[in-house]
């Protein structure tokens, strides 16, 4: 097998979780950027949130344009970090459904593997609750596809995945996280534009559609932008606190180092 394991940086994991938990009514998706190490371990450094043009249930596919845009992003990350970065995988969410990839998912994954045999797939399953025990669950899995023999159905192959600790959130991950409200608004605008261009609508219908746009944008702001902003502020506060404490510790250590030995 081409890939032995996947290491997902915890800040990239954070962005995936944010994205997956943003909606329970449809599957969200994105691309993973990173590098493949000599040990055949795929190291994911960050993710890019994508728009889904085809929102039919269980049709999670990435267009060539999106792949190309993601590659550009990967190059940018490569420049920033000085390491060779490229698109190494994709992730999507399964709200309310099992974490296992569907037949379509497995086939989609197989397709990407034809271009890059190290390409991996991640799935996040969320909004699951065991009503009896009031236990909620979030699951994630990593997989590739394999064809037992030529012409037979593709099958899922399990790939071990580990989240790698990273105490500070990287710049690219932060930027990806705040892209979500923008992507949602763009989607809404595009839909509205199509509707608006229909000439034969009477004023009442136009007012109705305009109100739908307003309503949807309000939903996005209260469900996504608002909580995002709150989290960013909390994080800023926490960081300021940590910095203060670390500075105090640094002072103490410097004193200790400067003090004569034997103290």
């Amino acid at each position: 097998m081409a890939v032995s394991a996947v290491h997902l940086e915890s800040d990239a994991f954070l962005v995936c979780m944010n994205h997956a938990l943003s909606t329970e009514k449809e599957e969200v998706m994105g691309l993973c950027i990173g590098e493949v190490e000599a040990s055949r371990i795929v190291h994911i450094h960050s993710v890019i949130i994508l728009r889904r043009s085809d929102k039919r249930k269980d049709r999670v596919e990435i267009s060539p344009e999106q792949l190309s845009a993601a590659s550009t992003e990967a190059e940018r990350l490569a420049d920033m970090t000085g390491r060779p970065m490229r698109v190494v995988g994709w992730y999507h969410s399964h709200p309310h459904i099992t974490v296992w990839p569907s037949h379509v998912d497995v086939r989609t994954q197989a397709m990407y593997q034809m271009l890059d045999q190290c390409f991996v797939g991640l799935i996040f399953s969320c909004f699951i609750e065991d009503k009896n025990t009031k236990t909620g669950r979030v699951l994630y899995t990593c997989f590739q596809s394999v064809q037992a023999q030529k012409g037979s159905e593709y099958e899922r192959v399990e790939i071990p995945v580990h989240v790698v600790p990273r105490e500070a959130i990287g710049k690219v991950c932060l930027e990806s996280a705040v892209e979500l409200p923008r992507i949602l608004c763009q989607e809404e605008q595009d839909t509205y534009r199509k509707i608006h261009s229909l000439a034969h609508l009477d004023p009442v219908t136009k007012i109705h559609n305009g109100s739908v746009f307003t309503k949807n944008l309000c939903s996005q702001m209260s469900a996504v932008s608002g909580p995002l902003l709150q989290w960013l502020e909390d994080r800023l506060e926490q960081n300021k606190q940590s910095v203060l404490e670390l500075q105090q510790e640094k002072e103490k250590l410097l004193q200790e180092l400067a003090a004569p030995l034997g103290c």
Binding site: E158, H162, R166, T214
Partner: protein, 490 residues
């Protein structure tokens, strides 16, 4: 005490309200009418807890800040005039992670109020609960957690303090992981578990847009709506509301970007200082070793002077050999005991297995390398842990990085299928809480922990685990299915 906030009245018909069994007057200082409880946490806060947990190599805990509101729902039915039910809504706004375990309590579970205050500061009044993240453990409060909870209830003066328990389990080959969460309100006698919802965008369906108007030939209709409807549109024929709401969104997004920029800067500053602190610690540790080494040499030299036999040649060399072994460990294994942060992942990766197994027992329970956890590179854990188990498991177990991604039989499960875990595993895996002996057989008025089906889909082959390896319970398994909806197995 719970603040009495102005309650909002809602009209409901019986079929709409989800009633739970009413508790008897057993609650501690809680209005007996408050029966139903709902709780919510934002997806960002939830993810943030997951993120902090992933970064910690042991258990992780912290406080939940937020609001508790009371809503009154009035139901009207044919049989009664009206009845009011109080719905208590717990909103978790954010969390305050603790940098390490035992930061406000000791091994006996005694809470130190001073430490508590210095951790919480002025956020203390917003505390509505606390949380813990553990690996491979049962979905029940441990004995120590219960003790701590009681004290926190008293000290913080929140009668209905909640406790959010996160439990992390994985398949043997680490390809699939599950994070389970349960919200408890332990101060009540009944209905101790509450459903925790994560509000989200929900229905983003854009099907509410109308693509055609209802056919209407009435000229009057057309005239009236055109004339009066014009109010809504600007000279370009675009609805004014659209522009207005877009301004709101735009301004908000600008703010998000701005704060994001500040956060990014603060992350870099924090990273830098953390690096400096780590370097200083290394220097101090190095210096300590050098001094100890020098002192030892001095002592040997003194001993050599007092004895003048031929054997003296062998003694110092034996002694120095021994001490060389003692001081053989490089900085990396020592780092866990001096740094408050877990050793950096890359350091762990670059270490030799033999180094890990020869490290001295860590000083703090909280800093023991986790056996199987999020982020584990699959290296075998140090000797003390593996030996302590007595189950021949050899935690660490060559997980994850095995060359064959199709599951290999060599790794046994950690944790049992029914959510419980064998005692010793629980002790070791959960951050080494030493007095967990008392935690078995908690008060079982609660429902059972969740049950799992075997984690098998048609294609995958799971490791065959010998019965001796799993001393208790049936093999751990994960059932990803919370719902029966949409069978998606391959």
């Amino acid at each position: 005490m719970l603040e009495r906030r102005p309650s909002s009245r809602r009209l409901q018909f019986p079929e709409d309200s989800a009633l739970e069994e009413l508790p008897t007057a057993g609650g501690i200082g809680i209005d007996r009418d408050v029966s139903i409880m709902a709780a919510s946490i934002s997806g960002y806060t939830f993810s943030s807890v997951c993120y902090h947990s992933a970064n910690s190599n042991s258990d992780h805990e912290g406080f939940l800040l937020g609001d508790v509101r009371q809503e009154e729902t009035v139901s009207i039915s044919d049989t009664q005039i009206s009845s009011a039910e109080l719905l208590q809504v717990v909103e978790i706004h954010n969390h305050d992670p603790c940098a390490q375990l035992f930061s406000f309590y000791d091994y006996a579970g005694k809470v130190n109020e001073e430490n508590l205050n210095s951790i919480l500061k002025d956020r203390r009044k917003n505390v509505i609960g606390w949380y813990r993240f553990r690996r491979n453990t049962q979905q029940q409060m441990s004995f120590r957690e219960q003790i701590i909870h009681k004290q926190l209830t008293q000290l913080l003066g929140v009668p209905d303090l909640v406790f959010l328990l996160f439990s992390f389990i994985s398949t043997a080959n680490s390809s699939t992981h599950a994070l389970e969460y349960v919200l408890f309100r332990p101060n009540r006698r009944y209905n101790q578990r509450i459903t925790l919802t994560i509000p989200n965008l929900g229905n983003t369906s854009q099907q509410e847009y109308k693509v055609s108007s209802v056919p209407n030939t009435s000229l009057n209709y057309a005239k009236v709506i055109k004339e009066h409807g014009a109010e809504f549109f600007d000279k370009d024929g675009v609805m004014k509301d659209i522009r207005t709401i877009f301004q709101v969104y735009s301004a908000l997004q600008d703010k998000v970007q701005a704060v994001c920029g500040e956060v990014e800067q603060s992350e870099r500053v924090k990273e830098k200082i953390q690096e400096d602190v780590n370097k200083l610690k290394q220097q101090i540790a190095l210096r300590k070793r050098k001094t100890a080494e020098e002192e030892r040499k001095l002592r040997e030299a003194q001993n050599a002077d007092s004895h003048s036999t031929p054997e003296e040649n062998t003694e110092p060399s034996e002694a120095s050999l021994l001490s060389r072994i003692t001081f053989h460990t490089p900085s990396a294994p020592e780092r866990p005991s001096t740094s408050p942060n877990p050793p950096s992942y890359t350091d762990l990766l670059s270490q030799d297995d033999s180094l890990l197994s020869s490290s001295s027992p860590p000083t703090s329970a909280a800093l023991l390398p986790r056996p199987q956890a999020v982020g584990s590179p699959g290296h075998p854990t140090p000797g003390p842990l593996g030996m302590g188990l007595g189950m021949g498991l050899g935690l660490g177990l060559g997980l994850g990085t095995s060359s064959n991604p199709v599951t290999t039989p060599s790794t046994p499960y950690l944790g049992n299928g029914d959510g419980s875990s064998s005692d010793s595993l629980d002790r070791q895996a959960a951050g080494q809480e030493d007095d967990e002996d008392d935690e078995d057989d908690d008060d079982d008025e609660d429902e059972d922990s969740s049950e799992y089906e075997n984690l098998v889909s048609e294609g995958a082959h799971l490791p065959m685990v010998s019965a001796s390896v799993l001393a208790q319970g049936r093999p751990a398994a994960l059932s990803p299915d919370g719902d029966a909806r949409g069978s998606q197995t391959t």
